[in-house]
Subunit: 216 residues, 2 copies
């Protein structure tokens, strides 16, 4: 398809598509004349992912480029591409090693992983170095510093709920046909379901606090 | 206690405490001389909450002021104060009513609430107007617009996981002694556990995708 059709089918303006092409967020089309290129379904899908990352996830262009580079690296298996792409997503702040609460928080996070049985899959398991592990340590340290300390035991139910969410996420992803499509969908859904999870938590809190404090 | 002790016990500098006092985020102490005031445990607790909102939650000062005003409104029951304070927290974008995907998304959100049995507690139930409901509708509309549509049935497992998280949140809150302390803790934990939930989801995804795509 030509640029105009790609724009019509994706709902993204031609100016924005040209910007994405220039920034390397979208691979170039197949050149048919000096001024025209041809785009395919792969471009349409990629455009969908770029919009998910940038417009909804508010991810900086440079990070989005890293995410997409990981997806395009065909030396990696689909699982490795997914891991690398997810790691390139922006994360919360890394732990501040000068904060005395961080060492204890790291210990709590390690104990939590043990309780949950996470990271036992293989010796090459990337879990200990995943950036989300750093975000978790930072969050545990902040809780303790602010006077709301929590133990690995306290956190275990959150981990169990997260397991259920991740299983549902991957059930969704498996609906997509090819491994390439699955990996793209997995990255998009990682970002797009964050507001779903957080808003449902707040709504569930209204419901649960009504049940505990009003009905009884 | 005097300002210097409040600063030492909270780990917040006297300059920052004075800023919070000036901005109305911390109630004034009991004046003892023309230049000195006396602060109590309530100030220490409030300071903890203000830091949770502003330093960790990165909530604007004006929103934090609204949250704290709701907590101080003693015409309301603890549950109402909690609701009002939580509603004053920043939320994701409200639905764009000019987006044709929004009406369908609102219908999906309504059907999801029905499936989950949420909002049946009372005719005065605030769930339909909670700002998190708007965030949910916006997120569902974005998923559909970007080519990753989801049904109420797809979303139900996320709602069940959210119920489990909310129950754990409130178990934590009930450890705090008085209703005032509980409401303050509930607001702080709403904000402080968001990065915990999101980072655990990402770690659980690494674990689950390893299990599905590597081990088999």
């Amino acid at each position: 398809m030509r640029l105009a059709e790609l724009s019509a089918r994706s709902g993204v303006s031609t100016a924005t598509i040209k910007f994405y092409l220039r920034e390397g967020l979208l691979p170039p089309g197949r050149r048919v004349t000096a001024t025209q290129s041809d785009y395919d379904e792969g471009h349409l899908r990629r455009l969908r992912l770029v919009r998910a990352l940038i417009q909804v996830g508010r991810i900086p262009v440079a990070s989005a480029r890293d995410v997409l580079a990981a997806l395009a690296d065909d030396r990696l298996s689909p699982n490795e591409r997914l891991g690398t792409a997810t790691w390139a997503l922006p994360h919360g702040p890394a732990p501040d090693e000068t904060d005395p609460a961080v060492e204890a928080a790291r210990h709590t996070a390690d104990e939590l992983m043990d309780r949950l049985g996470w990271g036992r899959g293989s010796t090459a398991d990337p879990l200990p170095t995943a950036p989300a592990r750093g975000t978790l340590v930072t969050a545990i340290a902040a809780l303790s510093r602010l006077g709301y300390p929590c133990s690995a035991e306290d956190l275990e139910p959150y981990g169990r709920a997260a397991e259920r969410i991740a299983a549902t996420d991957l059930d969704m992803v498996e609906r997509y046909g090819t491994p390439d499509e699955q990996v793209e969908a997995a990255v998009a859904l990682t970002v797009l379901y964050e507001p779903v999870v957080l808003s449902l938590r707040r709504l569930a809190a209204v419901e649960e606090s009504h049940r505990r404090f009003v009905e009884e």
